[in-house]
């Protein structure tokens, strides 16, 4: 299967079974080039398995094309074009900043040492510093400086800001947006911190039980979804329009979420608003841990 040139990832029937669990269940999705895509789902929904499949780090069933390569058989070519920050620290604790830079310069043909050193100079990191002397935030800064200096076409981030304080988190995305991302690059990011990245994303995918349950451009969400605040006497009439979710508020008010119902029509029932990504996430994932 060859994806069109403007597609960075194309998955068809992507599946992965573990002995006791289905991690990916016939997932179909496309990731166009030049987008910042959020892959969002509860713990155990299959996010990391999907990323691993894309990176060629795990076997899978179905079809997957990443930058024109098959991750199962063309992993070496693929690795030249892809970068990855994992949620687990993988740098050895004894290694120094300058040694990591030497290492990546030695193994990666598309690494720009001068660029990396420029990024490092803007942080508190010093060339002689060892990983074990660094805070979690500084380790992420080091990772980021390394991957941003690689001229890759796809950057995969798995919970990149997990455990960081808000200053480091903000700085992380600021550096990516100012110094890295452009229309020829594509970023795929998983995170639980939905609110933090919702305006950074151009597209969003929700994954639940190994299935892609929502896949949309961020721009289109506002056209599709509307929340309405209802008083008790309008509930039955509103329910007839098939809300996708309903939750009670204090003082007898109820909020209903509608998918694809015209906003003008809903306004006659009560105050409307566009739900945030976090609201949609909660509504879509209801009952996941039940």
């Amino acid at each position: 299967m060859n994806a069109p040139a403007n597609m960075t990832v194309r998955a068809r029937g992507l599946s992965k079974r573990f002995p006791n669990k289905v991690a990916l269940d016939h997932a179909d999705f496309d990731i166009p080039t030049g987008r910042i895509v959020g892959l969002i789902g509860p713990n155990g929904a299959g996010k990391t398995t999907a990323l691993k499949a894309i990176l060629g780090l795990t076997q899978f069933d179905g079809q997957l094309d990443v930058l024109g390569f098959d991750p199962r058989t063309q992993r070496d070519q693929l690795m030249e074009q892809v970068c990855f920050i994992a949620d687990v620290a993988i740098l050895p604790r004894w290694i120094r900043v300058r040694e990591v830079i030497d290492f990546v310069a030695g193994v990666h043909p598309r690494f720009d040492r001068a660029k990396c050193e420029r990024f490092i100079a803007n942080t508190q990191l010093k060339p002689a510093m060892r990983v074990r002397e660094m805070s979690k935030g500084m380790i992420v800064q080091l990772h980021l400086a390394l991957v941003m200096a690689i001229d890759a076409r796809l950057l995969v981030l798995d919970e990149p800001t997990l455990g960081l304080d808000i200053l480091y988190r903000k700085q992380f995305y600021q550096r990516l947006l100012e110094d890295y991302f452009d229309e020829n690059k594509t970023i795929l990011v998983t995170t639980h911190q939905v609110e933090e990245i919702e305006h950074i994303l151009t597209d969003v995918m929700f994954i639940r039980d190994g299935k892609i349950v929502l896949n949309s451009e961020m721009e289109n969400l506002a056209d599709r979804y509307t929340e309405v605040m209802l008083s008790a006497d309008r509930l039955d009439a509103a329910r007839a329009l098939n809300p996708v979710d309903e939750r009670a508020l204090p003082f007898g008010k109820v909020v209903m979420l509608f998918d694809g119902v015209e906003r003008g029509h809903l306004e006659s029932f009560g105050e409307t608003r566009t739900p945030g990504l976090a609201d949609l996430f909660v509504a879509t994932m209801k009952g996941t841990y039940a």
């Binding site: 910042i36 903000k170 995305y173 600021q174 550096r175 947006l177 100012e178 110094d179 991302f181 452009d182 933090e196 305006h199 950074i200 994303l201 151009t202 961020m218 721009e219 506002a222 608003r273 566009t274 739900p275 945030g276």
Partner: protein, 123 residues
Amino acid sequence: MTVQWNDNTPIYRQLREKVIAMILDGVLKEGDALPSVRQVAGDFQLNPITVSKAYQELANENLIDKRRGVGMYVAEGAREQLLASERERFLREEWPLLMQRIQRLGLDPKRLLQGFTANGEQA
């Protein structure tokens, strides 16, 4: 900088409004350079497509000039143009309501205009 965006208007429209307010208030003057798309995206934590879209709308309305390879600038005449359209909008949308209310309250127009001159200075 942390900015609060409201949920009910697309962000690119809110960003456009922000730039317009800055031009009207004289924070951004004609000929001033606008920050690059990347810089706005980074500072406000927005995707660059959103920022480009706001700038594109401002360019379509001739409020900013795109100079290829250099950047974006507040266009000559942008403030006048905005003031003209804001005045037009006030007269069309706000004034009729205001006038109705003045009449309903029986206020004397002369009294309302005391201490008021055409260009906004105190008399």
